[in-house]
Every structure is written in C-alpha cells, then in structure tokens.
C-alpha cells in the first residue's frame, strides 16, 4: 500500500516499530545506523527486518552531508532525540524543511519536544510509570509492575506511524510536509483502556488488580482470573451475560464428560446465575471445583477444548506456546528471512493481511547497501 514511499529511519529502539509498520505495508524504509551497531541483537533484527540497512552515522560531518542528500528525496524521516541534544540539531524540522519542504519529520522523544519535562530522560520503565501503566499492574498492595518485555517503545512506535501517515495523507492534498512530535509518555496512555474515565467521571482511582477481577459484584466478591494447570496457567473468569452463560454451561458439560467432581456446580441454573450478586462464599465453592478440574488439563487441551465448545478463556501463553500455535501457522503469520549473519530465521510477518495476502517481508542485504552507498547510488 505504501509502495514508492521512502522512509529514512534513524530511530533507536524507542522508535524501531514505526518504520517496521511502514515497511510491512510496502514503504521502502532505509535503516540508518552507525557502522558499529550490533545488528545481531534479536530486538534489532525483529524490528528492523524488512528495512534496508545502511551504515551512516548522521552525527559525523560526512554522514550528515550524505543524510541531507537523502532527505531531498525522502518522504518521511523518523528520528529519536531529546531537545537540546546534538541529534536535535541534525533533525531540526526547520532545517530539514529547507532541504525538502514536503518532508514529514517524525520526532520521537520520551516526553515530547516542548513542555516542562521535554528534556527529562526515560527508558521503558520510566515511561510505563509516567504513562500510568505501572499503577495498574501488580498485586494490589505490592510493587507497581511493568511488562518484562518493554512495551512503551512499541506504543510509541505505533503512534509515530499513525502520525506519519496522517501527515502523508494531508500532504497528498496540500503538498506540504510537517513535524510529527511523538511523546512516549503520552503514547503509553493508550494502554490504559478506559481507566481514566473512572477518575474523570466518578473520582474513583483504578488500581492494581493483581490476579483477580474485583468490582463486579455488589457483595464485593472477587473472581479468580489465573488458574494453575498441568503445564502453566489458564485465564478463565466466571462471567455473566449470554457469552458467560454459554461458557459456564459448557464447562460443566466438559467436567461431566470427564467425570470430574462437580460439587455445587451440579446444581447451578446458569440461566439464572448472576455474578454481580454472588457472595464470596458461593464464588469460592464454585471456583474450588473449577480449580481441581483445570489442574488436570494442559494449556493446549484447554485451548482446543474451549474453542470446540465456544467458551471464553485462553491459556497464559509463553513465546514457546505462541511459536507452535496452529492458528498463526494457518494464517502464514511467520515468515522466513535471512538475517545479517546469513542464517534464515522465522520472524513475525507483516501485521495485517491485505486483499487476501500477507505482504511479504523483503530482504535487503547489508553488503549490497554498503556497496550502493560507496558508489553514490541513490537510495529509493
């Protein structure tokens, strides 16, 4: 969809995903890095696959001249810098706009290019803290938690890609480029779902829920979410409503088939069961039998059985589980790509299927790019 669009991606890990998303949709994305960059790092490879690697240190005098030449033919520049740092002078929008008035400059920084904390430093944990996400993860009386695989960089990269393409669509009708100023902190706020409305409308502070769902019952009962199973954990919640009713009925039917002990589950009329009115004692009695049943299952058995019975609930997957998921295989999500070390490996493919086909990841050999650069060949 973005075939013919040329993107100069000068990002660090806090913005890698932006260029990857544009590349996945067909843009030619040139990834500029200093020659000594570790391109074998799995993170670098995962988020810079499908981009054309180029040795270019824009902070050196020669590198900057070469960069400026490329700016003249580019549609989008993506850069990560804080105001006041040396990189800010290189990527200054006014400077680049004189080289190419149609250029879109995507500036990614922890807090944005202006404001009282524009110059503050932050990495993933500080951004997840600043954006409110850590306040919602962890045990209710425990330490606020981040996701152990950094998330703020992806939230930021996704927002940067949106901003870049809104600007491209504007340029299509106006001919003018513009600056897209992306804040990591503000991007993380998207991860909070509707939590802000609780404070805004009711002055109720959403907090860490741990491993239980609370606030659904007028009795104050809490509902278990994560259940130990034979090889890990499952996610299952005693829901109400039509989907919850069907799920609960199917679970009991499944337990009957396996001759699991039903206890109070045998007597419940699920068409009348209302989780918003159940007491903690009732919930505990129900959940005790469920817990015993779930402990007999593997994650895969639960996934297959729940799907067959149209039940709500999923296993807590690890990356190893995900790697073997037949759903992803059937949709050809994974794509084999030869890495910079010459080894072919399986990557996450393009994030969407377009017109019935997942856009293939392209391979841009670094050596060829180096040769092109040395000979002065134009990229694009």
């Amino acid at each position: 969809m973005l075939k013919g669009r040329l993107v100069l991606d000068c990002s660090d890990r806090s913005g890698w995903l932006a260029g990857r998303l544009l590349a996945d949709l067909g843009a030619e994305v040139v990834k500029l890095d200093a020659r000594d960059t570790d391109r074998t790092d799995p993170g670098w490879q995962a988020y810079n696959v499908n981009k054309r690697p180029l040795d270019l240190d824009v902070t050196s005098e020669g590198g900057r001249r070469r960069f400026d030449d490329l700016v003249g033919i580019a549609d989008i520049v993506i850069a990560c810098y804080r105001p006041g740092t040396p990189a800010a002078a290189v990527f200054d929008y006014d400077r680049l706009a004189t080289l190419n008035p149609q250029l879109i400059v995507v500036a990614i920084s922890p807090f944005g290019l202006s404001g009282p904390r524009a110059q503050w430093k932050a990495t993933d944990i500080e951004l997840m803290a600043a954006g409110g996400a850590m306040s919602l993860a962890g045990e209710p009386d425990g330490v606020p938690q981040r996701v152990s695989v950094p998330q703020s960089y992806s939230w930021t990269g996704a927002q940067a890609a949106i901003g870049a393409l809104i600007a491209i669509n504007h340029r299509n009708v106006s001919g003018a480029g513009q600056l897209v100023d992306v804040s990591g902190q503000a991007s993380v706020v998207l991860a909070l779902a509707h939590a802000p409305t609780f404070w805004d409308i009711e002055r109720k502070e959403p907090t860490r829920a741990g491993a239980y769902v609370t606030g659904r019952s007028v009795t104050g009962a809490r509902y278990r979410v994560f259940w130990p199973c034979r090889d890990g954990y499952l996610n299952f919640v005693l829901y109400g409503g039509s989907a919850g009713r069907r799920t609960n009925q199917q679970l009991v039917a499944w337990m009957r088939e396996t001759r699991a002990e039903l206890g109070p589950l045998a007597e419940i009329d699920w068409s009348r069961f209302d989780p918003t009115r159940a007491t903690q004692a009732e919930v505990d009695a129900i959940e005790a039998r469920m817990q015993a049943f779930f402990a007999t299952l593997t994650k895969r058995e639960f996934l297959d059985g729940a799907h067959r019975r149209e039940m709500l609930g999923y296993p807590i997957a690890t990356v190893a589980d995900i790697a073997e998921d037949p759903q992803l295989e059937a949709r050809r999500f994974w794509q084999m790509v030869r890495g910079p070390d010459g080894v072919t490996r399986r990557h996450c493919g393009s994030f969407a299927v377009i017109d019935g086909r997942r856009p293939p990841l392209r391979v841009w050999p670094l050596d060829a790019t180096r040769a092109a650069t040395a000979s002065g060949e134009t990229v694009g």
Binding site: I125, I162, S183, A186, V225
Partner: protein, 406 residues
C-alpha cells in the same frame, strides 16, 4: 465538526460494531478531521453503552456510559435496523457515501447481513474496508469468541507480568485491543494513501492476536534464535541495575534505572551515598545484578524519606532516568500531559463535562482536536440521512415505516 482545516478533512468512515477494537480506530481518525458515522441499533446498542462502568452518577443508562463516550468522541451516531432488508439497503447506501468501512463483528457476520466486502465493493471499487477480530478472518480458530482482556493472556502479556515466583498479572482492561486499534489505524491510513495514488480500494484483515505479537517480536525472535523463553521478571532488566520502582513518602512510587557505571555513580552522589559507587559489590552491571538486594535496600531507604516529585527532579538533574509512578488521577495533573493537552474536556449532553483522550503525537500544521463529545444513541440520524445521504422527507418516512431506522 471542526472549523480548522484538518489532515483527514473529506474522508468519510462508516463503523459497524462496538466496544473498543473497531470504534477506537474511528475515534483517532475523527480527531484528525475524518467524518465518522458510528452505526448502532436500539435493539443492539454498542456494548460499551450499558455493559461497562463507569456511568454518570453510577446509574447505568443508554447515554450515561463514560466508557462508550471515551472511545467515540468527535463522531456522528445513528441507529439502523440491520434485521430488516430496508435497514440493510440503507446501510449499503451509507457505505456508498463513505470511503472506509470499519467493522469488528465476528467473522462472517457482515457477509450474512449482506454487508460483506465483495458485495459492498460492487460499483465502489475504491472502497477500503477493515475487519478486526480476535484471530483474524481465517484459520482454524477464526470463529473463536473472545474478550480482549483474555486475548491479552494468549498473546503472552499476562505471563510476562509479575514476579517470577508469583502468578501472572492482569493488565488493565482489554490491553491488546488498543494495540489492534493502533495498528488498524496505520493500515487504514496506508490504504487511503494508496487509494489517493492509484484509485484502488483495499480489504484489511486484522487479527488483534497478531497485532499484539508485534509488541513481543523481539522476544519471539530471541526464542527462535536461542531457545530462550522470556519469563516475567518483576521490574528487573538484564541490561540495567538498579532498575525498579521504590516506595516514597505518602504512598507514592518512583521508577528509576541506571544503564551505565556513570549513571550509577551520579545516582549515588545524588542520594548522598557516593561511597557506594566505589563499593566493589556495585562495580559494574554484573556486580550490581548479583547484589541487587543490597542495592535495592539502599535505594529503598533513601526513597522512603523522599517526596516522589522532588526526588524525580533531583535525580533528573543528576542525569538519571527517573519518573514517579503516575496513578490514573496523577495523569490529569501531570505537567507534561497538561502541556500537551492530552485531556480535552467537552460537555456531553447527559454525562456533563468529560475529559477525552487525545493521541500521543502532535502535528505542526494540522493539529487535530476532539471536536465533539460522543453522540447520544441515534442523535445524528437526521444529519446523516438528510444532509449526508440527501434523503428527502418522503424517503425517510418510508424507511421509518419499514423499520429501517429504529
């Protein structure tokens, strides 16, 4: 809805579905000028209207839901009865008016309604349509019903959150839905660019599961390369020490990290413990990781006496990455978010003043805005049918008689 020229002025979007995954895409595009029509029916309103709190004064009501409003600002709202053939005909007329259709029904539902892509694009070859659901439109589990909060577990996020010896942790709400909506927005915008240049439409099949995995792409590739299975590690990071959250005065927390010996030395000087920078237990990353408990104890002792905001300012001046752990209420007072006008209050006819969220980027020429509060159910039927679709009074009356508009 805006007097200022915006980037997506003239782009017309029709939304079928509800909750977050579809409508949040339209909300973002509406903030930058697109005209977005959210289609519901009185029999089956958007599930966020009644099923999820918070509600105005704590009382559920069709137009009292803050959750629905939060994801549907700057849009027009109409009611169509898609169980009646006249309603479907009217929906097709609406699609013919539009440039983009966004839907997040279960796979196959739109086609059964007579609103599948192949049918809609007849005579409208430049139509862009995005279908978003848990698993995507194809594959052995395509028909799986699911909530985003549970899909977040299948995609690995819950298992990667929490202490190593503890349970997986919930992330708030349908975390993965918003990854899907962000990436869906990217895809729609790319399709609009292609359409501008080629005149071609697009059909976008978006799996929220696959979108979520892009946020774990590094860990997934690491497993491919090394067989390493990423696991939850509390707040620890293999490349930084210290790296965590520490309790300050008044129950507030401070997140901080050091990624080099120089940053660690600066931190120790700033908290009045310069000798610790020279302590062999903390000389280098590996040593600091090995003596994490002692290091965390020293930091915890200092933070316990500090105001989180004052400590953050002090340590930032020292060159350390640090920030208070903002609670949700803190976000409304955060100086930087206020500077960026992240929250934009608009007066909803029933809810009253409500703070709507604005995306995480600013555009210098076409800044966008929250142009209106979320619509009441069916509030814009007259505007959409008469002004947008140019239906005259007789046509409207006939459609009402046929229960096309409920």
């Amino acid at each position: 809805m805006s007097a200022v020229a915006q980037a997506l002025d003239g782009v017309k979007i029709v939304e079928f579905g509800g909750y977050a995954a579809g409508p949040h895409i339209g909300k973002i595009l509406a903030n930058y000028g697109a005209t977005v029509v959210h289609v519901e029916s009185r029999e089956r309103p958007d599930g966020f209207r009644l099923q999820y709190p918070p509600f105005k004064d704590g009382m559920p009501g069709i137009d009292r839901g803050g959750c629905f409003a939060f994801f549907n600002d700057s849009k027009y709202g109409i009611t169509l009865n898609l169980k009646r053939s006249a309603g479907v005909t009217l929906a097709r007329r609406l699609v013919a008016w539009g440039d983009v259709v966004i839907e997040n029904m279960r796979p196959g539902v739109m086609a059964r309604l007579g609103l599948g892509y192949e049918s809609l694009r007849t005579g409208h070859s430049d139509l862009i349509m995005l279908s978003t659901c848990n698993m995507g439109q194809t594959g052995p589990r395509a028909d799986t019903p699911g909530f985003g909060s549970q899909l977040t577990a299948l995609a690995g996020f819950c298992g990667l959150t929490g202490e190593p010896d503890g349970s997986p942790m919930l992330l708030y709400g349908p975390y993965i839905d918003f990854i899907g909506s962000a990436l869906g927005t990217v895809a729609v915008l790319a399709a609009l660019d292609r359409r501008h240049r080629t005149g071609c439409g697009s059909y976008i099949d978006l799996s929220q599961y696959e979108c979520g995995l892009t946020f774990l792409a590094g860990a997934l590739l690491d497993y491919e390369i090394s067989g390493h299975v990423a696991e939850r590690a509390g707040n620890r990071d293999p490349d930084a020490a210290p790296h965590g959250a520490y309790l300050c005065r008044a129950g507030r927390w401070l997140a901080l990290s050091c990624w080099s010996d120089a940053e660690f030395a600066a931190l120790m000087r700033a908290i009045g413990r310069p000798a610790l920078a020279a302590d062999p237990r903390f000389a280098g990353l590996a040593a600091r990781q090995d003596h994490r408990a002692a290091l965390d104890a020293a930091l915890a002792a200092w933070c316990w006496t500090q105001d989180a905001d004052e400590a953050a300012i002090l340590l930032q001046h020292a060159g350390v990455a640090v920030h208070p752990v903002n609670t949700i209420s803190d976000l409304f007072d955060d100086l930087q978010l206020r500077h960026r006008r992240t929250w934009r209050t608009r007066r909803h006819p029933v809810i009253g003043d409500q703070a709507y969220h604005f995306p995480g980027f600013e555009l210098s020429r076409t800044p966008g805005d929250v142009t209106a509060p979320a619509p009441l159910l069916g509030a814009d039927n007259a505007t959409v049918f008469q002004q947008f679709l140019k239906l005259d009074a007789a046509e409207l009356e006939a459609l009402r008689r046929e229960d096309a508009i409920d």
